[in-house]
Amino acid sequence: MDANALVLSTSPHIKSTESVPKIMISVIITLVPAIAFSVYQYGPHVLYMYLVSIATCIASEYVVVRLRKRPVSVADYSSIVTALLLVMVLPPKFPLFGVVLGAVVAIVIGKQIFGGIGYNIFNPALIGRAFLAATYPVFISSYNAPKMLVDAVTEATPLAMMKFDGVLTPLSGLFFGTVSGSIGESSVLLLIVGSIYLFIRKYIKWRIPASIIVTVVVLGEIFHLINPAKYPGPVFHVLAGGLMIGALYMATDMVTSPITRKGCVIFGIGIGTLVMVIRLFGGLPEGVMYSILLMNAFVPLINRGTRPRIFGTGAANE
């Protein structure tokens, strides 16, 4: 019995098998069905977009971390998650150079400037997309019809058609992904299937998507009842555009969402409300991205305002 070999450390002496890389890899795997479907729908260009995005994200992460003289964090796979999500919210015909630009912005400005993983305030992938949407000239015109859209009359997205032409897309098309839209947002079905695993592992703070969807349904129903001719029903709003990918994969980004139970609910209600305000009254057809980014900014405040009552303090003991 050699006492010199004894490790001295504080309890607990056992730990769960959860780890940051494990969480990130799980997210990547659950995205695979939706990614594969998007490549099938839109062809090889989309595949190149994914590959370019991954390569750029990993490279920018590596370079910045080296410049900051910090331990290399590429191994936690979080930059790959950012890379995939960025492409999933871009239009299918988007040029590869634009992808490179978006990926660099996502990693450098969206994440590393704040101090790297864990410290960023905004969802990095959405920072990348917001940058491209604001600066890249061909962004809006880069949508094209997916393969399975037989009746390829229009390349406009369902939300744009609703907003600008008053045309409603059938709900089944939204659900199965046979409509125009950003690369990964079109198949709600595959996003849900993928995310089930994340719910089971508790990698998704379930209160966030739940409260986003409930808010959108409630507000959608109210306006639909007021004027059914002008406002589509709640199911349309849930299935259309980036709501599902936003609710399941963007708003639930651990780093940029609240840590308290109540905070998650407030965060979700905030996003859902903003989405509906932008969609119904704003100048843009879609507002998921801006809603999430805006609510990201409130997370520190939400966390502070929703601190749980510590056991043995407050009301219960007065």
């Binding site: 019995m1 050699d2 006492a3 070999a5 004894l6 490790v7 001295l8 450390s9 504080t10 309890s11 607990p12 002496h13 056992i14 730990k15 769960s16 959860e18 780890s19 940051v20 494990k22 969480i23 964090s73 936690d76 101090g115 790297g116 993983i117 864990g118 410290y119 508790k202 990698y203 703070k205 651990m254 780093v255 940029t256 969402s257 609240p258 840590i259 308290t260 139970r261 966390n303 601190r307 749980p308 009552r309 510590i310 056991f311 043995g312 303090t313 219960a316 003991n317």
Partner: protein
């Protein structure tokens, strides 16, 4: 049947199967025992014997004048060899009495008081608990006679006998419940009489069905109930347990008696029974020796003062290279620097981990996954506290309730970034205490 539970907590691998079916076996007594004079929370004892003096089993060898203290007795008959400072399981050196045993088994127990609860007087029994040096045997080692004598104005209506044993690996309490059922119930009734309570609840986690059955069959009497809780760590933590059973919250900074409850471990109840009925001071206890580094894991009746090294040999010795020696369980136990430390009154288990099982991990920035927030049984924001402590913002740590942390380790157990949250919290507590002390001056 109603299962009591709480919000939060974790489900670590319990690994109770290693030792749970091993009946309690009396460990051989080593030639020399080293008995620390500090085995409790409170004033340290001064030796009452001198080097060269012969002592008998149960004879007083250390005591203090203070109220919050517990006397120490000789676990064997023999000769005092040395009075010296030796390594204590808490990591610092304390005065200890080394006794070389003579194998003659000469006893000097206290006067037996009998086992007739009806005729026994609470005050006499309380005095006995004090004389016998009984402390909380779940690990906290708070002197039992202090706990059983709440200050005037504190009314106690419920005694909870804690047999949850929610720490993984440990099975000592389980074996006590199975093998010393009558004695521990008698001890519980004695404590009940000392406190003057009508209601005694003995509580066990669901994963010990045999113990639950045995307790139910044995007690069958009014005023005494067996409650069963869900199997979840840290169900047996005092504050968590009281809330689960009675819906009462021990106030921040308070004690169970503030909500009219006293909680005692099953081992303590057994010790009370033996002290009152047989006049036997607390000189031995049941200890689980377990882990993947032990050849024959099991439960042993061990004399206080037995060196861990000797005890491990009783369990067949070690397997492989030992990377960690823990006194207590894996969630809250203390890592030891040496195999020479002695078993003390609060030693519920000796856990040996092979080198390969010892986690030495780098830690990463918090990714705000909130696993720790979900797991914290006292509803703190552990991730936030860890960040605050890293920034050395001790005052803010106080505002975030750092002193309400029960150090159960759930947060650190679930953390995917492997952050040493409990360690940071412990540091913050110490720093905060120093700041408070300075303010007082």
């Amino acid at each position: 049947m109603r299962l009591f539970s709480f919000r939060g907590g974790v489900h670590p691998p319990y690994r109770k199967e290693l030792a749970m079916d091993r009946p309690v076996q009396a460990a051989d007594i080593p030639e020399t025992l080293v008995v620390p004079l500090v085995q409790h929370i409170g004033a340290p004892c001064a030796p009452t014997v001198e080097v060269g003096e012969s002592v008998r089993e149960g004879q007083l060898i250390g005591e203090a004048k203070a109220f919050v203290t517990a006397p120490v007795h000789s676990p064997v008959s023999g000769t005092v060899k040395k009075i010296d400072r030796t390594l204590h399981p808490l990591g610092f050196k304390v005065p200890s009495v080394a006794i070389k045993q003579d194998g003659e088994g000469q006893k000097a127990y206290l006067q037996p008081l009998g086992d007739d609860i009806a005729s026994l007087d609470g005050k006499t029994m309380l005095e006995r608990v004090k004389e016998a040096g009984i402390v909380g045997m779940g690990g906290a080692t708070f002197p039992a006679h202090v706990k059983f004598a709440p200050p005037k104005g504190k009314i106690i209506d419920t005694l909870i006998i804690n047999g949850c044993e929610c720490e993984p690996y440990l099975t000592a309490d389980y074996r006590v419940m199975l093998e010393y059922t009558e004695d521990l119930i008698l001890g519980a009734r004695m404590i009940g009489k000392i406190l003057g309570v009508e209601r005694i609840i003995i509580v066990v986690e669901k994963n010990k069905p045999e113990a639950i059955e045995k307790l139910k069959v044995t007690q069958n009497d009014g005023g005494f109930t067996t409650a069963v809780t869900e199997t979840k760590y840290p169900e047996g933590a005092e504050k968590v347990l009281i809330h689960a059973l009675l819906g009462r919250e021990v106030p921040s900074g308070g004690l169970p008696m503030d909500v009219h409850v006293v909680v005692s471990n099953v081992g303590t109840a057994l010790a009370v029974c033996e002290a009152v009925r047989n006049g036997k001071p607390l000189i031995e206890r049941v200890v689980t020796v377990t882990g993947d580094g032990v050849k024959n894991p099991g439960n042993f009746l061990v004399k206080i003062g037995t060196p861990v090294e000797w005890l491990v040999e009783q369990a067949g010795g070690t397997i492989g290279e030992i990377g960690k020696l823990i006194m207590g369980g894996p969630m809250m136990g203390l890592a030891q620097a040496s195999f020479e430390v002695s078993v003390i009154k609060g030693t519920s288990g000796i856990l040996l981990m092979q080198k390969e099982s010892v986690l030495v991990e780098e830690y990463h920035p918090c990714i705000k996954c909130s696993f720790c927030v979900q797991a914290c049984p006292v509803h703190l924001l552990p991730s936030r506290l860890s960040i605050i402590a890293e920034a050395e913002n001790w005052q803010l740590a106080g505002e975030y309730g750092v002193n309400d942390c029960i150090e159960c380790g759930c947060c650190t157990y679930v953390c995917p970034a492997k952050r040493p949250i409990v360690q940071l919290i412990k540091t913050a507590k110490i720093k905060l205490r120093k700041i408070k002390a300075r303010e007082h001056e």
